[in-house]
Symmetry: C2
Subunit: 243 residues, 2 copies
DNA sequence: CGAGGGTTTGACTTGAGTCAATTCTGGTGG
DNA sequence: CCACCAGAATTGACTCAAGTCAAACCCTCG
């Protein structure tokens, strides 16, 4: 474990063993560091945006807004995650991005990334893996909304987040710190904030998880996994071209 | 319009004007043609699969199955669509793929694709565009499930499908032929089949769309668009690196 | 001319939403 | 150190969209 490196390096390192040279390249990507205040949109839909970011610290969410005013959060980004990779490819962003907490992120020019890939092709594979994992998470999220009831959805969500945070050293099987409000959870899970509250109470009273004071604590990990059939294989696929 | 070419070429052609050389390359990709019977899984979860397909004719769906027996259809593939691009990158497929009708598809080896890209780099951009459009569709689908009610979901779904079919010459603003059953619609939209039926009746009685005898007919296109705030920009993004 | 999917419909149940009020908490300024 | 405030979390009472169950109906194809 390279606990002394960035969350990004740490995440990729869980996938391919990285050499010192590769680690150094990754660190170089973090040179253009920027900071964002909580709750002020970083990117909004339709905006012409040419750079992507790697989150160094803090939490971000990407969401779509409906004319009705309803909001659907597509995903949360935590340290080590890419942000707006799509908006680099396409001229305009197709969703909004908002920091939940104060966020430190490194701006990444497409060119820098490509240069790094040329020097160390294994990095390309690792980044591709990360992107594909993100896609798998969106699909799993889709299943949540389509075919799981509120309690299972919540359980699944909290477990997935836990697994992701653990990967970058921000959580354990005991629990993790989580700055999300019940409103944010509601917009991610397709529920009302009131119902989120009730579901959290149920889970707590059943001794499965508690989420209070910004801390998620797994009281009965196995029970929670069983409740929602959590299967983490989609999070730790073996990699492309890497056999 | 190159009506005499494959749906795949036609779809990419809507994005970049393709030269004769490029068109020829695309046609070559269709050399290894295979046929699949309806309802017999082409790929199942966990299977080690190394080839991708381009659908030439027929409809396919990719879905995930829950232990409870519930099913969530992630997307439908129609002629011109890629199938299992992800399962080529990763060793194992992470969802099931099933033909809805008899399907003709061309097997595409990763190598062939890469060779074509080397010869005509613009093709890479076009394929990347297509892949990214698919991703945007999944996100839109997520919004459907999370924040739209049954009627809006259905309207949005039928409109999106119409736009996709039109792109490959299989539909118009009047309507299109559609082999989906109400059970399939239910599994895609996160509803019960019974409710799908009721929603379709409502839409028909309101004179918006009718879906009967395997035909979707738009009775009031504008009204339908208004009902669900259909915004097709996510389907015809301008392309990457293509300004 | 059956048989078996697929489609419809009605009657009833229920998970989740809405509305509205109350409590808790962390941060602020005096 | 404390009163105060705004945002967040809770809770209860009521409503409603969508699900479930069960029974017809109806094409279409062998």
């Amino acid at each position: 474990m390279n606990t002394h490196h960035t969350p990004f390096a740490r995440k990729l390192g869980a996938f391919v063993a990285l050499s010192d040279i590769e680690l150094a390249l990754l660190d170089q990507l973090h040179s253009r560091r920027r900071s964002f205040a909580a709750r002020r949109d970083m990117v909004h839909e339709g905006q012409v945006e040419r750079s992507a970011y790697i989150v160094a610290s803090g939490w971000v969410c990407s969401y779509k807004l409906l004319p009705s005013g309803a909001r659907q959060i597509v995903d949360f980004q935590i340290p080590g995650d890419f942000l707006g990779l799509r908006s680099v490819l396409f001229r305009t962003a197709d969703h909004n991005i908002e920091p939940i907490t104060r966020v430190q992120a490194s701006e990444v020019q497409a060119r820098d990334l490509l240069d790094a890939f040329n020097t160390a092709p294994r990095l390309a594979a690792a980044v591709l893996w990360a992107a594909s994992r993100d896609e798998a998470m969106v699909v799993e999220h889709l299943v949540d909304l389509g075919r799981r009831d509120a309690k299972q959805r919540m359980a699944h969500f909290l477990l997935e987040l836990g697994a992701r945070l653990k990967l970058v050293g921000l959580g354990t099987n005991e629990g993790y710190a989580c700055p999300l409000t019940q409103y944010l959870l509601a917009d991610a899970l397709g529920l009302s904030a009131v119902h989120v509250n009730r579901v959290l109470r149920d889970l707590r009273e059943e001794g499965l998880v508690s989420f209070q004071q910004g801390k998620v604590i797994f009281e009965n990990f196995a029970g929670l996994v069983a409740l929602c059939d959590f299967d983490r294989t989609y999070l730790d696929h073996e990699g492309p071209l890497m056999r």
